[in-house]
């Protein structure tokens, strides 16, 4: 290996690492606020990339129909709980309408816009919007009534959601893979290093998103409310922060981050209906490096995972995944030795 190969691998590792960092942050975010270990994070990546790919062909993506089905289900659940509280049809109908509103509007826009083949950026925006709307609905349908269950039960629920979302992706997107057009085709030559415009976009977008997340948590009331929920759910509830709203907001953010990651990697790799899982899990390994609690450690961990993957695929490409996922064992060993035996009461 000479310097130019090493630098290409480094660049590759850092670009992928940036995506893993975003997904790792989303994982930490969801875990701290809701105690849900959110295995299906990667599914949003595939949903985002595939929605854009199908919009590119001028067709209506299956995401729209899936979103509407989920919204109706969530709406009915909302209506049922409103009915149980008030025994009156009006609040129930209101609850139903409130849940259906955003998904219905997004679906209508997509139905109108899909055949018109708007520019890439508009379609990208639409894709992100559609996928983000999944977040709160998934929380409502799968997690909300189990909010007080143990971490273990929530983890198993996550696995169920992952199973369902992957199967539904196959149903609504088909088994075909897609590669999206790059947002920026420019190439830069920095000495021996060729830098693609897409890589620049990935790095800048990830950085921007991380800064925005930081601002959100440090500077806004909603961000502070989420942090309060993460520290103490009961205490936050007593301060009139609804833990259900916090959960839905968190999953919306996770879906947003996932969809954006999907758009960012769409042009660099072919995305299939089940590609998201492995990508998401690598973000996950990064989050575990940060103990599922620390954002900066998760980001650093993600860069580490990206680099290990890049160099691993150069030296032993067949064993790339083996190396990345076996990595978690020494990391856990280091964490367990560092933390000592915790007599936790979980």
């Amino acid at each position: 290996m000479d310097f130019s190969i090493a630098s290409i691998l480094m660049l590759d590792g850092v670009t992928n690492g940036a995506i893993y960092a975003l997904l790792g942050l989303a994982t930490v975010l969801v875990f701290t606020v809701t105690r849900v270990i959110f295995i299906p994070q990667g599914e949003f990546v595939a949903y985002g990339a595939l929605t854009l790919a199908i919009l590119q062909t001028g067709q209506v993506p299956g995401t729209v129909w899936l979103l509407l089905c989920l919204a109706v289900l969530a709406g009915l659940m909302e209506a049922a709980s409103a009915w149980q509280r008030h025994h009156h049809p009006l609040p129930a109908l209101k609850a139903l309408a409130r849940t259906l509103l955003v998904p219905a509007v997004l679906a209508a826009i997509t139905l109108w816009a899909a055949p018109r083949q708007f520019p890439l950026l508009v379609q990208a925006l639409l894709s992100v919007g559609l996928v983000t709307a999944f977040g709160p609905l998934i929380y409502r349908v799968a997690y909300q009534s189990l909010a007080d269950a143990s971490t273990l039960v929530l983890l198993i629920v996550s696995v169920g959601v992952h199973f369902a979302m992957t199967g539904l992706a196959l149903l609504f997107f088909g088994a075909e893979g897609f590669r999206n057009p790059a947002f920026w085709d420019e190439r830069f030559q920095l000495g021996a290093l060729a830098l693609s415009g897409q890589a620049v976009i990935i790095l800048l977008a990830s950085l921007a998103l991380i800064v925005l997340l930081w601002l959100f948590f440090e500077r806004t009331l909603y961000g502070k409310a989420l942090r309060a929920t993460a520290v103490n759910r009961l205490g936050a509830r007593l301060m009139a922060i609804s833990s259900h709203t916090a959960g839905q907001l968190t999953l919306a953010m996770a879906a947003l981050i996932g969809a954006l990651s999907g758009l960012l990697i769409g042009p660099t790799t072919t995305v299939f209906y089940d590609s998201g899982f492995l990508i998401g899990l690598k973000g996950f390994v990064a989050a575990v490096i940060g103990g599922l609690a620390s954002y900066p450690a998760a980001a650093v961990g993600a860069l580490f995972v990206g680099l290990v993957e890049a160099f691993g695929s150069f030296w032993a490409s067949a064993f790339k995944e083996v190396i990345v996922f076996t990595l978690i064992l020494p990391i856990l060993l280091w964490r367990s030795l560092a933390s000592g035996h915790s007599g936790d009461e979980h």
Partner: protein, 613 residues
Amino acid sequence: MDHATTPARADLPAPTPTSPEGTPMRWNTLTARAALLALVPVVALLPLPDFWITQLNYIGLYSLVVLGLVLLTGIGGLTSFGQAAFVGIGAYTSAYLTLNAGLSPWVTLFIGLAITGVSALLIGWITLRMSGHYLPLATIAWGLSLYYLLGNLDALGKYDGLLDVPGLSLLGWDLGSGRPFFVLTWIVVLMGAFALLNLLDSRTGRAIRSLRTGSQMAEAMGIDTLRHKIGIFLIAALFASISGWLLAHFQRTVNPSPFGLKMGIEYLFMAVLGGAGHVWGAITGALLTKVLEDQLQVLLPKLIGTSGSYETIVFGIVLVAVLKYLPDGLWSTVDRFRPRKPRATGWQDAARLPERAKPAHGDVVLDVRKIRKQFGGLTAVNDISFSVQAGQIVGLIGPNGAGKSTTFNLITGVLGLTSGEVTFRGQAIGGLSSREIAQRGMSRTFQHVKMIPDMTVLENVALGAHLRGDKGALSAMLRIDREEEQRLLHEAAHQLQRIGMGEMMHEMAGNLAMGPQRLLEIARALCSDPALLLLDEPAAGLRHKEKQALAAVLRQLRGEGMSILLVEHDMDLVMDVCDRLVVMEFGTHLMEGTPAEVQQSPKVRAAYLGTEH
């Protein structure tokens, strides 16, 4: 699972009070089990279509894996998505060695078990030291990397796998396929189920069942929780490995696909669907999942129009729905209607457990010298000193926030000392873990009652005698632990009778009122044959009559020579039963004396009621 209930009680004996050493109950259980085993060849002889037999073979193989998961998840409160990987180790080891080294499958079985065991011990030792969700996370990664490893190694045939694996035969009998294989598999499954039922109804089983409620109580009873967690992960992995061995020699070929993460998740699905808290739930779950999967794989492509693994959609949704609406799984709906018979009292003739030498009346049992605990800048306990003499009840009292509970936790090893010394029966115990302190003969109760609600009172109390037995998981599974088991239960029953709770021993602990719950904790602590009993607010939440009963028990114990340290808020109780009182305020030692002296003290009045200025 939070709501997992008592494991199946197929082997709980019928009441036969007159039986010596409980022989008739053994007889009952044995007959039922022998009948189940005898059913296996009968089913094989029935004129069932071959296809059904093949399906039943697969169900048996799955059941074996899920049995392990029931122990791990439903009973132990841990989980693993990597069981399929352990199946893979068992399968690949046997396939590779029979093909390339020419070894007999009956030898490779044990090599596979050894490799599985080492992997499970390693993963368990690394992850189980941390909080509970790291094990499933590690097993996800482990399942994925093993899948890719198997699929990329040339020696293992990459994704095509190994072909022409020999079938099983024993003494010239071909057991490799169809009905003979059915008999072999299901006898193994039933033996596995019986072994687990035996295990759950034993000293080690009670320790395993205590894991789900957190480690503090178990450790205070002298149970090494880490060791038991690793133990059940190991047992679950070994069950999976046997299933893999059977699978390799049944299919005559192995490839990575049945050992991937998807299958690992499906095994967990089976456990949750059937009922992760019940041994028979494992077989129910495996059966239903296999049938459901077969139906869906035919039905869904017809409905949708193209082929693909659409059954995952249904599996995912069913998994979430079961956890929401039927968290105990389908077997619990059957289990509810099974009659529960109280355990046979076959222990009257069991020999009493040996007792440790007790300190002579008046000896110093516990000596606390200048102990101190700082949390950052806050000094919660500030150089407290006092001592307890044998045969005394010493009360530790003080207003809220005085540092009583912290002092208690320092003595029992739950918290580490910042400085100072604690000497128990002449030995320094500062810095020891609560388990090591329990071994030295100090036993405690908890301010918030910690018990296993789905075990009987007797079983809960027997948990206290954990350190007085030494039979492990293997002897429990093989039922060669019964002599010791009867002695432990005899001790538990004796302690319950000693404090007047003999009538309630077969009640589920979760059904008790607060008063009996507190007494249960005292009986459990007594079961460890302590030289010093530490009671943390035993009167909290009790009604007047219950408090009187408690005071009577404490006086009786002192009369029998027991030394007691009591942290308590209830002044009536404290003044009534204590010989000496230590009063704390704001982490410091305020005064010490007899109840009468303390009642007279203006300092104490000021501490509790405030001063006039």
